[in-house]
Amino acid sequence: MSRAEEHARAIRETLRRDTRGRPASLVLNAPKIVELCDVWLSFETPVLRGVDLWAREGETLLVVGESGTGKSTLLKLILRLLTPDRGTVRVFGMEMPRLSFEQVLAVRRRIGMVFQYAALFDSLTVYENVAYPLRENTKLLEPDIRHIVRERLRFVDMNPDVVSNLLPGELSGGMRKRVGIARAIATDPELILYDEPTAGLDPLAVNTITRLIRKLQVELGVTSIVVTHDLRAGFRIASRVAMLRNGRILFDGSPEDMVAASDPYIEAFLRAS
């Protein structure tokens, strides 16, 4: 058996093992809650050149591609941290570039974002980091906030009594990511965006993070868009995969279809993962 075949078999095995309970069939006719139509964006050079992409309610969309192909840029467009040069970006049916700043803030409150390096606030403790969106966006009283923070920390397999008073600088990379997830889900968002959730983590921490993302899918039914180049981890959680190349969507389909694809670039990408 050649190395490529061996690799494809390993991925198929991962898919077979990890797709149990994946709600793909449920989301086929669900409404699109994120929709990018013919999106163009340039900085000094073109980054996105006519991207069409959507995510339906309840699905986990994996966005893969080489570094610098504009994967993280897509997330920034969804959050309107960037605006496209051309094309439309609709989130929850609202056209993001046309909204006022206050309206954008209101949409962002319905979205959770997990950053590549967690982006925890350095000067705040773990507890304060997770409590931050609750304090900013709700009128909850401190006992309720404390209850939610402790619950979210437990959800990400952390002991609130141990970690609550630690500063982000005192945490390992995996722990920081888990706190980042706890913060992202603190306000029960309808959509969670993950930017390279497993980057820079050891294999055990990668397993923990992918397990957590699955748990969010199954237990909370939350819609997720995951940007990554870690295909092995990504395939365990994805219900759909989109591949970016040279600023365009090269592939959009199920993980199984991607493994079966005959495009030489996709084959090479899968082999290299």
């Binding site: 959050l79 962002r108 974002m113 950053f115 590549q116 982006a119 606030f121 966006n137």
Partner: protein, 272 residues
């Protein structure tokens, strides 16, 4: 030739866009002072950092400025037998110019650089993006409290600087020039009285001496925030932002000092 023109055009365009961004930041931060939500806790924290934190450097700058001013002036004044005017000279110089300007430069070096470094580090580690994604306006949360702290604390620091500078002058006057404290202090009061009285009770020098630090406080905090929020390119970018913030705010302090002085001379002319 065409390339040179294009380069100049590009540079001018960058400067104009930068000025536009700076003005937008200033407007949005100012709007945050009068509209909800207010971040009181952050504001008091910044007042403590910018005001109380800058006190030691302002005290040191103030006392040595007053002392050296008295020392240098006494050399010339003694030559004309006019050393009884030492108090007038030190007080007028400290309150009108040296207190506000040197105090602001000290704060720009300490607090302005700190603001740029802190916000720059938050920008490059995506903490500001995180804040935005959680529905917080980073200008209201980060810039407005710093702006308020600058506007309130700079005048207070300037008062401290003026007082300590005049006391430094008194020290030199008594110990080195052998001029009595009463003569020196009479000179100080006479300097303020001669400058004229505004609004019936306030010495004119106090108005100019306290208006300038309000403007300088705005310049320091807004410039630090502007460069910090625009930082990019990792730790090197943060370093660059910090340097630019200090250089730009120092230049802006000198330039605005001239224009405020000119304006006040027109609006509140000194008595003839």
């Amino acid at each position: 030739m065409t390339r040179a023109v294009m380069a100049i055009d590009e540079r001018l365009r960058t400067v104009a866009l930068g000025a536009q961004d700076y003005a937008t930041l200033a407007l949005r931060a100012t709007r945050g002072i009068v509209t909800r939500p207010f971040y009181w806790r952050d504001t008091f924290e910044q007042m403590d950092r910018i005001g109380v934190g800058s006190l030691p450097i302002v005290l040191l700058t103030g006392i040595f400025t007053g002392m050296v001013l008295a020392l240098q002036s006494s050399v010339e004044l003694v030559r004309f037998g006019a050393n009884i005017y030492l108090g007038n000279l030190v007080a007028a110089s400290m309150v009108r110019e040296l207190g506000p300007v040197l105090g602001a430069l000290a704060v720009a070096g300490r607090a302005g650089s700190g603001i740029a470094a802190e916000l720059g580090a938050m920008r490059v580690t995506e903490q500001i993006d995180a804040m935005e994604t959680m529905g917080t306006d980073p200008i209201r949360k980060l810039v407005t409290p710093r702006l308020v702290a600058g506007l309130v604390m700079l005048p207070m620091l300037t008062i401290v600087m003026d007082v300590i500078g005049i006391l430094g002058g008194l020290l030199v006057s008594v110990m080195r020039v052998q001029l009595g404290a009463d003569v020196y202090l009479r000179g100080v009061w006479s300097a303020f009285a001669v400058s004229g009285i505004t609004f019936g009770i306030v010495p004119r020098d106090f108005v100019s001496g306290l208006l300038k630090p309000v403007v300088f406080g705005g310049i320091i905090t807004l410039t630090g925030s502007y460069y910090g929020l625009r930082a990019g390119g990792g730790t090197e970018g943060v370093g660059r932002a910090t340097t630019r913030a200090v250089v730009a705010s120092s230049m802006a302090i000198f330039a605005s000092d001239y224009f405020i002085t000119q304006l006040l001379l027109v609006l509140l002319p000194p008595p003839r």
